[in-house]
């Protein structure tokens, strides 16, 4: 398995690990999201993007369909956002030449 595939599998495994602690095994509850962030977001590069002291706010940000839980789709979008934040810290913002979707800020 390639480096990229290993990374994708790791993201799925982290979600499974924390989502699996209550009955709703395919979703992260407020408490599970809190545990995940507390344990998995530990480096300064990521910590300022996602604050474990304010889980309620993070939950509201991620829970796009407002059902009180974070599903894998919502989680994957969050990880993409964290990756972009990390990229931007290293390289600066992408220049946007077009006006297509790829240029929009979330």
């Amino acid at each position: 398995m390639s480096k990229l595939e290993k990374a994708i599998v790791a993201i799925v495994e982290v979600f499974e690990e924390y989502a699996g602690t209550d009955d709703q095994k395919k979703q992260l509850s407020n408490a599970e999201l809190g545990q995940l962030i507390k344990a998995q977001i530990t480096s300064p590069e990521f910590k300022d993007k996602m604050d474990s002291d304010n889980i309620k706010e993070v939950m509201e940000e991620l829970d796009k369909n407002h059902d009180g839980e974070v599903n894998f789709r919502e989680f994957s979008q969050c990880i993409a956002g964290l990756a972009r934040a990390y990229w931007q810290k290293k390289h600066g913002k992408d220049k946007c030449k077009g006006k297509g979707k790829g240029c929009q800020d979330k």
Copy 2:
């Protein structure tokens, strides 16, 4: 660094490695995208989602702002899509209770 953070860093590193082979070091050209997919998408779980025999089609799918290159934002959305496809293969589709953004298919 946590498992999740390592995965995010790995995604950024893979992009940097392939985007860095021509002058436009922050973007993947058609050729670079082809090399990335050929080398990094090797397992059957991912291969059927992204076909290295048809790079032009993949490029058109990813290049949301139509500038002929794939920037990191576009790449991160692609990785999130691959992660969702892998998740769905393991767990089936998420049930959508609400009608919010988190439920939409891309």
